[in-house]
């Protein structure tokens, strides 16, 4: 069902854990749905210096978190904001159709973390799309 890339990130997740003094934290999903993704970011000079994740969810959710954190690490905040769920899914060499929402979850968690960082620093927050709320189990 899953690509080798998904299985690799699932079994050997990158950037798993928490950042104690995170500059921004974003959490999406809920336990009823079966997935929760929490992203912690550390920002220096407008760059994502460090990023960690915690995920409760299926293989695709864990792999999407891992891949998304890898893809935004070292990027500017704006570049991280622009990471699309499609890019995450492509980097994972594809996800089954019913699991695409897991990559949406990663995109949204990053958006929430960035807006949390912006709000804490007195910056105007950016508009979130909120795509995950539209998916149904």
């Amino acid at each position: 069902m899953y690509s080798d890339k998904v299985m690799d990130h699932f079994e050997n997740p990158r950037n798993q854990g928490t950042i104690e003094d995170a500059d921004g934290i974003g959490e999406v999903g809920n336990p009823q749905c079966g997935d929760i993704m929490k992203i912690y970011i550390k920002v220096r000079n407008d760059t994502i210096e460090d990023v960690k994740f915690q995920t409760f969810g299926c293989g695709a959710a864990i792999a999407s978190s891992s891949m998304a954190t890898e893809m935004i690490k070292g990027k500017t905040v704006k570049e991280a904001w622009d990471l699309s769920n499609k890019a995450v899914a492509e980097a994972l060499e594809g996800l089954p159709p019913q699991k695409l929402h897991c990559s949406v979850l990663a995109e949204e968690a990053i958006h929430k973390a960035i807006n949390d960082y912006r709000a804490k620093n007195g910056l105007e927050t950016w508009e979130e799309t909120g795509g995950h709320q539209e998916h149904h189990h």
Binding site: F10, E11, G34, D35, Q54, F56, G57
Partner: protein, 394 residues
């Protein structure tokens, strides 16, 4: 992670490997003795005799008469036939059917379809162990009730239903009683007369017989329409050329299962108890289904804070085949209707794991599975934002 490469199959409720004696019995009916049982020459007679032998073997295993056994393509067809066949043949008497919320989809999707045809269906609730109450069955019967269909044992949580009591109530009230015994047949003793069962479905591949084989027991007082129309096979009740090798395999498998049942169920239930005990030593884990009145081979445990599909994937990498009631598993995004009917919250259902033991399960397997589940649960809990700090180790 354990480096040793092993393969441990703990999904025997999904299907079982076909046993060698069964395959050996089937082979001649695919090659030399290939005749159509309806034909009138010698090799056809061999086929016809083999089908009748199998009919006796199935009948004997459930206390029925051979003429009361009809072969089908599996448990699903048997369930469909029993329910639709009785519904349409008895429509003049009433249009009400009683079933439970925890039936297999072969039953639930059939009754849901019948609702669209104008039948009324009562879906009885279950208690937290997944057990149907005979009192609820009695209370649900009206003068329009034509059928009660309650499974013998649940496929997900292993709870064994009070079938004999329900059968007694059905008989007293003059209502036909069907039981989906797909998970039970070949594993626990069944007697259609003692239990007042009018129809019973079973499936060959659940007790080491071939896939695509099943049977429906139809008692003498049952008025039922055919599901398959065509030739005169199965005494005009189930058309279609008989799956002779499959039927032979089904007969052989149930005969062997019945003969070995006491010893085998004893051995497997001892292993099951060890497995349950050791898994419940993992903090924040709970057993689903009834603690005692459960199938000898069924273990269904929930691990809080993690998700079932992730557990399955990690176990698969360690050579262990299992199952889950999680919404995120396989092709369905709906969480288990059985665990929901037991009153479990969604987040708990997501962390369920079903391990079903079989003939090949050993003590050694139990050790390996427990050790790997401990590791996998810890690894996933370390990753989950829901896990409380005291349960993390990294």
């Amino acid at each position: 992670m354990t480096e040793e490469k092993r393969f441990i199959y703990m999904d025997n409720a999904a299907t079982t490997p076909t046993r060698k004696e069964v395959v050996d019995a089937m082979i001649p009916y695919m090659s030399d003795n290939f005749g159509n049982p309806s034909s009138l020459y010698s090799i056809a007679e061999l086929s016809a005799e083999a089908v009748e032998t199998a009919r006796s073997q199935v009948a004997s295993a459930i206390g029925a008469l051979p003429k009361e056994i009809y072969f089908t393509s599996g448990g699903t067809e048997a369930d469909n036939w029993a329910i639709k066949g009785v519904a349409f043949a008895n429509r003049d008497k009433g249009n009400h059917i009683i079933t439970s919320q925890v039936e297999h989809h072969a039953v639930l999707h059939t009754t849901e379809w019948l609702e669209k045809q104008g039948f009324e269906v009562t879906y009885l609730p279950v208690d937290s162990y997944g057990m149907v109450s005979p009192g609820d069955v009695r209370d649900a019967i009206t003068d329009k009730t034509i059928l009660i269909t309650i499974m013998t044992a649940n496929n997900e949580i292993g709870t064994i239903m009070p079938i004999a009591e329900i059968g007694k109530i059905a008989r007293e009230k003059g209502v036909l009683f069907h039981t989906d015994a797909v998970q039970a047949a070949g594993h626990i003793p069944l007697d259609v007369n003692e239990m007042n069962i009018d129809m019973l479905s079973l499936s060959g591949h659940k007790f080491r017989g071939p896939k695509g084989t099943g049977a429906l027991y139809i008692g003498k007082r049952v008025k039922i329409d055919p599901l398959m129309h065509g030739g005169a096979q199965e005494r005009h009740r189930r058309a279609g050329t008989e799956n002779v090798p499959g039927i032979v395999g089904l007969g052989k498998a149930i005969e062997l299962s019945a003969a070995e049942m006491e010893e085998e169920s004893g051995r497997i239930s001892s292993l099951r108890d060890v497995l349950i005990q050791k898994l419940l030593e993992i903090p924040k884990s709970h057993l689903n289904g009834h603690p005692e009145i459960r199938l000898p081979n069924n273990v269904n445990v929930v691990f809080e804070y993690i998700e079932g599909e992730s557990i399955l994937l990690m176990l698969n990498r360690r050579g262990i085949c299992a199952s889950t009631g999680s919404a995120c598993s396989s092709k369905s995004l709906d969480p288990s209707h059985v665990l929901m009917a037991c009153g479990l919250p969604h987040e708990t259902i997501h962390g369920s794991l079903r391990l079903t033991l079989g003939h090949d399960t050993t003590e050694d397997d139990i050790e390996y599975v427990v050790q790997n589940i401990r590791e996998v649960v810890q690894k996933l809990r370390n990753m989950s934002p829901l896990t409380p700090p005291e349960l993390r180790n990294s």
